[in-house]
């Protein structure tokens, strides 16, 4: 039996030596050496036992269940000197046939390893949370110019520096920083993260210009009526306090808390010093845009809700126009010129309007979405259809815009316009013709978007164009029927 073999001592680098541990365990498993026969040692101190000579060729890799493979690196970061032996026992039992052992959290060994992993995870989390940088300088002027430099001193409980540091590199790439710990240090120069020898607390500046303000903030955000020191200490154990500047405020806050609360409870309500600002209150409610111009000013000043546009393209035409046309969104030309329906589709619309007997200058033209959305392909900007959500972003404006214009008839050009006006996705083939857009205060009419005609093959275009002009004629006569004298 293997346990009859002589004991072995395995020496690993101090800290979390994953490579060393992995290589050693492969040998131990290959040689069927049980955990009782192994002594683990860390660092350069001489051992009581003669070291095993390094085995010749590398032992074969072990196929470990995922639950084990993820547990090993985490537990190796723990400071407990027994961690190697415990992990070896786990791997030994798994290799002996207990394949699912790491899933049995109730097993005493697994339970202990899980607690170790949890302690490491907590230490990592607390390092990310409680480490405090101090400003060191504004760069040495060479090379990168004025990159700022920051430094921090931290004392982790476990061997977590290498695991913890990438978090800071992802978060703070734009300045140089060092993190010094009693076990080692980490440096970031804007490009690479490197690790070095242990640091000293004195190597970090003693103060920072924002610490007093931060401590004031910490003190102000505390509610004395809820004082609960046990809850604070459970989450922020005292061992971390001496590296956190704000904790200096704690004793004073706790001392004064009772008296502050008592004073608040006992104090009789005071009469307000200020009188009711009636005029300001009345003015507060009057914030709705009062005119189309005011609404347009708001739209012009707003950030695009679809990404990329040069400017907002506003509606064009006369308030009070009998017919309003609603398209999808501005295209490339519209985006550059800041006017609706001036590109190829707009020119086609103008022609069709003429043929249908509608004067463009007497109508009102606008789009459901006020900004151009596109995909850049080389120098070309390819139109992209707005999503339903993006159309919904713009509906508030369209509704108010049409309320100001108050047309008798609104013509929806294409499916996006129908969606914007009715809130529903309807295929144009089904919706084409008169519509009430599901209860809008104006009559409606649905037809295709002129850009649809441009995309048709030549042989189909003429017929479709004729149908489009027909639609516009029908819309015009519908609008005429709706004129006040004939509407009744």
């Amino acid at each position: 039996m293997a346990s009859a073999m002589a004991s072995r001592t395995i020496r690993l680098r101090p800290g979390a030596d994953l490579d060393g541990f992995r290589a050693a365990v492969r040998h131990l498993v290959a040689d069927e050496i049980p955990p009782e026969a192994v002594t683990w040692a860390e660092g350069d101190a001489p051992s009581l036992f003669p070291d095993e000579p390094a085995a010749g060729p590398a032992a074969p890799a072990l196929a470990l269940p995922r639950a084990v493979a993820t547990l090993v690196p985490a537990v190796l970061m723990h400071r407990d000197p027994e961690r190697h032996g415990l992990l070896h026992r786990l791997i030994w039992r798994v290799a002996q046939g207990e394949r699912h052992l790491a899933e049995v959290a109730s097993d005493p060994l697994v339970h202990r390893l899980h607690l170790m992993r949890k302690a490491v995870g907590r230490d990592l989390h607390k390092m990310h949370a409680f480490l405090r940088f101090r400003w060191v300088g504004a760069g040495d002027g060479s090379g990168e110019g004025s990159r700022e430099r920051f430094a921090a001193w931290f004392e982790p409980e476990h061997h977590i520096l290498a695991e913890a540091a990438p978090f800071f590199a992802a978060r703070f790439p734009s300045f140089d920083w060092s993190i010094l710990t009693p076990d080692g240090s980490a440096q970031w120069d804007g490009r690479t993260l490197s690790f070095g020898p242990p640091g000293r607390r004195e190597d970090v500046p003693e103060h920072d210009a924002f610490e007093a303000g931060w401590t004031d903030y910490y003190a102000s955000t505390f509610n004395p009526a809820r004082t609960n020191l046990a809850a604070m200490r459970a989450e922020m154990p005292k061992k971390y306090w001496h590296n956190m500047p704000e904790t200096a405020a704690i004793p004073g806050l706790v001392r004064a808390a009772g008296q502050r609360v008592g004073a608040m409870i006992e104090r009789a309500p005071e009469a307000p010093v200020k009188r009711v600002p009636a005029r300001a209150l009345a003015a507060m409610a009057a914030q709705e845009p009062a005119s189309l111009e005011a609404l347009n000013a708001i739209i012009r000043a707003s950030e695009p809700l679809v990404p990329g546009a040069t400017q907002a393209v506003l509606g064009e035409g006369r308030p009070g126009a009998a017919i309003a046309f609603v398209g999808e969104q501005p295209g490339d030309q519209e985006d550059l010129q800041g006017r609706p329906f001036v590109g190829p589709a707009g020119q086609l619309l103008s022609r069709a309007l003429r043929e249908a007997g509608i004067a463009r200058r007497d109508a009102y033209l606008t789009n459901a979405v006020k900004h151009f959305k596109f995909e850049a392909r080389g120098k070309r900007r390819i139109h992209q259809k707005p999503t339903a959500g993006e159309v919904a972003h713009y509906r508030w404006w369209l509704d108010r815009e049409l309320a100001f214009v108050a047309p008798r008839l609104v013509v929806a050009l294409g499916a996006t316009a129908v969606l914007a006006l009715s809130g529903r996705q309807v295929p144009i083939t089904r919706a084409r013709g008169p519509s009430d857009f599901g209860g809008k205060p104006f009559r409606g009419f649905v037809t295709v978007h002129p850009s649809y005609l441009l995309r048709l093959p030549d042989e189909a275009r003429d017929e479709a164009y004729a149908g489009f002009v027909d639609d516009l004629r029908r819309a015009a006569s519908l609008a005429a029927d709706l004129a006040p004298s004939g509407a009744g």
């Binding site: 703070f172 303000g213 102000s220 955000t221 956190m244 806050l253 339903a388």
Partner: protein, 403 residues
């Protein structure tokens, strides 16, 4: 940091602290770009804890505590005599960036008193968020308070920059709102929540960025006569209709210069704690609002036992539950067993038969769980029939002492 700015910070942090929300969770994982600043981790990070045991994760401040509204429960109402201050947009941006660079915070939680008009106020909040994102390449967490009385298109803008949006319901009934917050309009609050909920959902489906950490709200506990049952039913409706990520329950706390129509007393912290537990039962333990209501006494949750234990004591015929056989849903009903313990039990019992000692290693709540479960070597001897079971399991009354 100069003294004037420090003084403003003190006033405007003090004015913001009655908002319980502090979470920096729910945002997708992000990293800073080369010249930028900030990241998000998903779960959020608490960078410090104040002596009230609460987490300091975000720089939680008001842009200003001048306010035209006169909500009785609020320290910043226009009739209060507190000191007033007002930050500029740039001051908030500087504080956020400099605090962030020193690893004090995960980001910003910005709210404001209503000045000039709801739209003007909302625009200022948006400007801060936009400046952080666009000028500083800030990828950290931003939570913006939404002013429900602001125009709807401003909500559409806020979601472009914020991770989380919130509107505080504050009072669960229309009647209380009318009495204590005369300028607030319950219908406007619900409409705005509905609008945000819809937009957040759509953006998620379309893989666009719009308030990716969702929306939350806060309800004040103990400022009016609402029962726990009505609070819980309100919460269930909000989670259901508006897809809220979180509801915060905030025990009404004495404030400096309180209004005369409000109770002057210590905050009902234990009640707040029980409401959070009940809320968790609905979100993570598959309890329905009716289940929770069934655990109350005249609509109020017990203070001496947690709501899950209260439910179990009322439904003793459902116990004991066999840890080696019962389905997950029933294990979740066992007092003292949390979601993680239940998941570990379910995983472990596939490969082993669990004895009481094994269960003890999987939960810290075995004392409460024992009378309600069966293990391979253990069955409670008619414990669930004992009349004194509640007294044996109740927590000793918690001294709400300050020290």
């Amino acid at each position: 940091m100069d003294d004037a700015l420090k003084k403003k910070l003190t006033i405007l942090a003090d004015a913001a602290k009655y908002d319980a929300s502090c979470a920096s969770s729910g945002a997708p994982k992000r990293k800073a770009e080369a010249g930028g600043l900030g990241s998000t981790t998903g779960a959020g990070i608490c960078h410090a804890y104040t002596p009230d045991g609460r987490c300091v994760s975000l720089l939680k401040i008001l842009l200003t505590n001048y306010c035209l509204f006169d909500c009785a429960y609020c320290v910043n109402r226009r009739s209060s005599n507190v000191r007033r201050a007002r930050f500029s947009v740039d001051e908030v941006v500087t504080l956020t960036v400099e605090f962030y660079k020193r690893n004090y915070i995960e980001g910003l939680f910005l709210s404001s008193g209503i000045i000039r008009s709801p739209d003007h106020t909302m625009e200022q909040l948006i400007r801060v968020a936009k400046t952080l994102r666009q000028r500083h390449g800030f990828r950290g967490y931003i939570h913006l308070k939404t002013i429900p009385e602001a125009s709807p298109w401003l909500i559409e803008q806020a979601g472009l920059y914020a991770d989380r949006l919130s509107i505080n319901l504050e009072l669960p009934t229309e009647a209380s709102l009318e009495r204590l917050a005369p300028e607030k309009d319950g219908a406007a609050i619900q409409t705005a929540m509905g609008q945000m909920g819809e937009r957040i959902l759509q953006a998620k489906e379309e893989k666009r960025r719009f308030a990716p950490a969702g929306q939350s709200t806060q309800v004040i506990v103990g400022a009016d006569a609402s029962t726990d049952e009505s609070l819980i039913r309100t919460s269930a409706r909000l989670y259901d209709h508006y897809g809220l990520k979180r509801i915060y329950y905030s025990a009404f706390s004495p404030i400096p210069d309180a209004a005369s129509i409000l109770p002057s007393q210590s905050p009902p912290l234990q009640r707040e704690h029980r409401l959070y537990q009940a809320d968790w039962l609905m979100r993570y333990y598959e309890f329905s609002p009716d289940d929770v209501a069934g655990a109350t006494e005249s609509g109020m949750l017990a203070l001496d036992v947690d709501p899950k234990l209260a439910w179990a004591l009322r439904n003793r015929d459902r116990f004991p539950v066999d840890v080696n056989r019962a389905d997950r849903e029933m294990l979740l009903r066992v007092p003292g067993l949390g979601v993680r313990a239940v998941d570990k039990i379910v995983a472990a019992r596939r490969h082993a038969t669990l004895r009481l000692d094994d269960v003890a290693r999987l939960t810290s709540g075995l004392k409460r769980a024992r009378p309600f479960l069966v293990a391979a070597d253990y069955a409670p001897t008619r414990l669930t029939d004992r009349l004194d079971l509640r007294a044996r399991l109740a927590e000793p009354p918690r001294q709400l002492s300050l020290f």
